[in-house]
């Protein structure tokens, strides 16, 4: 994941996807995403090089 994110980047990414986000809303989204980005970066530590995403439901289907 990104190391961090700014509200200007939020506006730019949304714009690329055809969505206009007002600055005030972008600041709020950015604040909400900071904790998620931190958690996401820690999450990356449990992924082994061989892990395939296609195995998501392997446990259930087996």
């Amino acid at each position: 994941m990104a190391k961090t994110i700014t509200h200007k980047e939020v506006i730019k990414i949304a714009d690329i996807r055809g969505i206009n986000i007002p600055t005030e809303d972008a600041i709020s989204i950015t604040n909400s995403m900071v904790a998620l980005i931190d958690d996401g970066n820690r999450m990356s530590n449990i992924i082994k090089p061989t892990t395939q995403p296609s195995a998501v439901f392997k446990v259930i289907r087996d």
Partner: protein, 465 residues
């Protein structure tokens, strides 16, 4: 609740079968309670008074002719307002779809109708099922029958309040991050999230294709099993449906739990929790041990990653579903829902794939734990249902948004897709229900149902005064 509306589905089905009561009489008692309590609770988006009366008359004739379809025959049931109902408004709790009328029934709607259930209404919910409070600016907020100043939890809030208050005998919810279990715990009822793929999602408006699950909400464990008997099974119309033979969920429900191995993870679930909730859940754990289960505490470090995995997958998949709404209808969406969807928009494809890979590792760790234990036991909610006006909750040194805290403990089991049931296990000092959740291996709903039933039979569930 009066006599008829306080019956369990099981009790009512026995009285219907023996013709001691009629479906019309049972329905009218529930309609009376609905009209009495609805101005306070706001459990419904649509009350199907005429349709349900017509269905009850048909059920009455069939039962008199001894053509009994199932234990749900003649039983009033509510559907969260994201289950498609042919010719009946289905809003998904939104303003955008306030006039949407599906041209077909969801698979669950079909199965309940085939079982003879009386669909009495479409239940209030958090907009697009993307929230944990059921505070809804478009259709009004559902209120908790234990104290209407408190939230019902969400997103299946109307389903929970209607079951807890006796407006319906059972209801259907949906669960993507906890939306069956959270309101069930908050309103003091039984909520079952079946194994991913066990109950068809055909005709249920989606939130997240790889996390969504649909299941029953009832006042008793046996009633949950009765509803599962009607709704479980393979459906080729749902690409996530898995073709595994269904159980009769009632057969082993009273078998007891002697020798059952129950694992209690000691990390994650207890790092941010109201001490009253922790005490009640640990008391329940001891009770299960007294009933013959082998209960053991253990550490499961991978749980710490469940929120990141769940959030990235849920938000990205929800943003994909609602992309056009974000482009064209954002002014019609609630502020909280729009903000979550926009977070999903900002996450990247690589973030999503990382979460899918982490999910595989996560699921394998949980699977390993379930090789040692038959059931995992944990609290459902870290708190009793908060007041509607509380946006932030502080426990010890930690302050979290109400929304985040409400789904914190339920999400791990959406990541795994494993069956999980929430049952009541006490009350806080402010008289709000406390819930615990029991999780088992894939398709082992019978195991968690018999564990829940052993607890219910021994201890009972709190009832609204």
């Amino acid at each position: 609740m009066d006599h008829l509306t306080s019956l369990s589905i099981y009790e009512a089905s026995e009285l219907l079968k023996s013709k001691c009561i009629s479906p019309v009489e049972l329905l009218n008692a529930h309609l009376e309670i609905i009209h009495k309590k609805e101005p306070i609770l706001n459990s419904f988006i649509t009350i199907l008074e005429k349709q349900s009366q017509d269905s009850a008359l048909i059920a009455e004739k069939e039962i008199l002719e001894n053509k009994i379809k199932s234990r749900l025959h003649g039983i009033p049931i509510g559907l969260k307002d994201l289950y498609f109902t042919k010719g009946i408004k289905t809003t998904i709790g939104s303003s955008i779809h306030k006039d949407f009328i599906p041209e077909y029934d969801s698979a669950v709607t079909e199965k309940l109708s085939d079982s003879g259930a009386i669909i009495i209404g479409k239940m209030q919910m958090h907009e697009f099922a993307l929230g944990t409070t059921s505070i809804n600016e478009h259709h009004g907020t559902s209120k908790n029958p234990w104290n209407p100043q408190h939230v019902t939890g969400g997103s299946s809030g109307g389903s929970a309040s209607s079951v807890a208050s006796g407006q319906v005998m059972g209801a259907m919810g949906s669960d993507t991050g906890g939306s069956i279990r959270i309101p069930s715990a908050a309103c003091g009822i039984v909520g079952l999230k079946p194994t991913f793929g066990r109950v068809s999602r055909y005709g249920v408006f989606p939130l997240s294709w790889s996390l969504d699950t649909v299941g029953p909400m009832t006042r008793t464990t046996i009633d949950s099993a009765i509803m599962m008997n009607s709704i479980a099974g393979y459906d080729s119309r749902d690409s996530s449906s898995i073709n595994v033979k269904t159980d009769d969920y009632l057969i082993k429900i009273n078998d007891g739990i002697k020798g059952l191995r129950i694992g209690v993870p000691t990390n994650f679930f207890y790092s941010v929790i109201d001490p009253e909730v922790e005490k009640s859940v640990k008391n329940a754990s001891r009770k299960l041990s007294d009933l013959g289960a082998e209960v053991e505490e253990f550490s499961l470090p991978v749980l710490e990653h469940s929120l990141a995995i769940s959030s990235i997958i849920l938000l990205t998949e929800a943003a994909e579903i609602h992309l056009e709404n974000m482009r064209n209808n954002s002014a019609k969406m609630g502020v909280d829902v729009l903000e979550r969807l926009r977070q999903g928009l900002i996450l990247s494809g690589t973030d999503y794939v990382s979460a899918l890979r982490a999910r595989t590792e996560f699921n394998q760790e949980i699977d390993l734990a379930l090789q040692k234990y038959d059931v995992l036991l944990s609290p459902t909610l870290a708190i009793g249902a908060p007041k509607i006006t509380e946006d932030l909750i502080t426990i010890g040194d930690t302050t979290l948004s109400t929304s985040s805290l409400m789904s914190r403990l339920t999400r791990p089991f959406n990541v795994t897709g494993l069956p999980t049931i929430s049952i009541p296990c006490g009350l806080t000092s402010s008289k709000m229900p406390i819930g615990l959740q029991l999780t088992s291996k894939a398709f082992q709903e019978s195991t968690i149902l018999k564990t829940a039933q052993a607890y219910e039979r021994e201890v009972g569930f709190p009832k609204i005064a």
